[in-house]
Point group: none
């Protein structure tokens, strides 16, 4: 529960080699940079909704549209043939 990496054997109890420390630092800051980017994009999305709202659109519905379109895309990508068989088997309404 207290281990930092599986390479902990390389070091004397409780410490990391300098190389490992640098690597770790690098990894963490890279992740943090990417998370920052992600947040910025999320903010932009928020802004688009806000702007749309100021033009009179209902954001709730807009979100619903986006969500449904996404669902549809996913659904379509699924192996429908297989499901059809099962659906048929069930009787499609039950």
């Amino acid at each position: 529960m207290a281990e930092i990496g599986h390479n902990s054997g390389q070091v004397s109890a409780g410490a990391l080699t300098q190389a490992a420390r640098d690597k770790l630092k690098h990894v963490v800051s890279k992740i943090e940079k990417l998370e920052e980017e992600k947040k910025e994009t999320a903010d932009e999305i928020r802004d688009v909704y806000a702007e749309a709202k100021s033009f009179g659109y209902c954001t709730k519905t807009l979100r619903k549209i986006v969500r449904l379109r996404k669902q549809d895309r996913q659904t379509r990508e699924e192996e429908e043939a297989i499901l059809d068989a099962y659906m048929l088997a069930i009787g499609e309404i039950a």
Copy 2:
């Protein structure tokens, strides 16, 4: 609950002006583009974790580190904000 937008008055029941349609299309596709971007960044983050794992790091711990650092940052910002408020209140201009 039955309104399409707040601009529903502009149109005869069930339809939108061409301008409104174009605008709507534009908004939706912009959002979808941004969401795509966001997803890509999320995937990159996932990759970084995966790569780190292949180097022997424990991703669970890495995530914990990132989370804690984020919390710290937030806490620090809060504290600074409070401090600033006090300073202002006192008349201290900094």
Copy 3:
């Protein structure tokens, strides 16, 4: 950050009245009982899948069926008329 309830004013620093303690205990144990129930149901579900698997069904597909049926139910419950209007506006494919 250290408050237990908003009724903390009722008590002298750091303690609760006996009544509050009893009430709290009651609430917590009720929740724990319900969570236990929930877990049991989840386990039963797991068992059904396992049993089905032993009869030669592909659990992955079974789960997919259940999920899709659920989605369908939800989707159907949504105000489709409104969405249809928007969809039409967008051109349904773009």
Copy 4:
């Protein structure tokens, strides 16, 4: 990826025997019934929190309490299991 079940050999392409259909139907509806039950329990839990809140408790803290108690239980069980294992290893029958 294209198989319907492992019993697909029993049927001519795209169809299932009546028995298989019935069985499938049964399985799916049983799962759906259990999921319904589970949802009801989850709703009850939600209600308990809501009620507690109306009495002045901070739900966030309540959730934290429940979570911590759960962790403790798990930790204790783990420790006991380890202890038992040691006991067994030593030859101690208890």
